[in-house]
Point group: C2
Chain length 132, copies 2
DNA sequence: CTCCATACTTACATATTTGTGCGTACTTAC
DNA sequence: GTAAGTACGCACAAATATGTAAGTATGGAG
């Protein structure tokens, strides 16, 4: 009785589709961490609406600190989702936007976000039902 | 010059679609936190493939500790995404599965996960390009 | 001449998350 | 009789995430 419904020999196609995110050492988990981090999601959503300068982005994403915004942007940049363009002028001027890859990623994240916002009422019913 | 590209008066339809996840006090952020938490994502993915008992689920999701799995399941249950059925027998027997709401949520999460797994190579190129 | 704005970085403090090990109340296998 | 499996809850410790305040180089406003 050790074969739980996950360990049956999946066909190759399935193996590819599902990858191995469920495996502890899958490198995808790192990307998942960046994209689903507290601020990663919000930054992706914000940048989907256009190009922003650092301070403007900070104002757009309610609640981020400078430190966290900078760190989040660095991660997403390293993953190739965010493009950073620095104009070498005296008062610094840097612009952030999504790369093609980033736009794809943002699309997925937005679908998730949309689902949550649309279904929030249904979820809140459960909150009340289980005594907050 | 305070109107950054986010604050232009959106039409009502847009306002509803986008909600206010970008606002610091939006209640959706709580749900987002549960669903995109380190183990929340993985549990949703695992449960999408069937019903599991606690220990089996723990084996399916590589790397979770008992404590975290229990906590994650409790959150998702309160949000109404996970159904917990406890059979009152002597060696405890509890079964976890997704509710209708949970299946919808899991679908979104899976799309995100699939995208990541499929595009991991493209992302890894950027890792190399930016020194690690 | 002083203050603000820009886009960050760094040091330090705190908050939140996560893990570890133990306990439970029994049953089945050895 | 002893060990293992079940589904957790709890206390404590360690790890990680996040916030705060200050600093940088420079130009423009007042």
């Amino acid at each position: 009785m050790k074969s739980d419904s996950i360990s049956k020999p999946l066909p190759l196609s399935e193996k590819l589709r599902r990858g191995n995110l469920l495996a502890a050492d899958c490198p995808s988990r790192e990307v998942l961490k960046h994209m689903t981090s507290r601020w990663g999601v919000l930054v992706l959503l914000a940048l989907e609406t256009g190009t922003f300068r650092f301070a403007a982005l900070r104002r757009a994403v309610g609640g981020v600190s400078e430190r966290m915004l900078a760190q989040t942007l660095r991660q997403l940049e390293q993953d190739g989702l965010v493009l950073r363009v620095a104009h070498d002028v005296v008062p610094p001027h840097v612009e952030y936007s999504l790369t093609a890859l980033g736009r794809e990623a943002a699309t997925q994240v937005r679908h998730l976000a949309d689902w949550i916002e649309v279904n929030l009422p249904r979820i809140q019913e459960n909150w009340r039902a289980s005594g907050n």
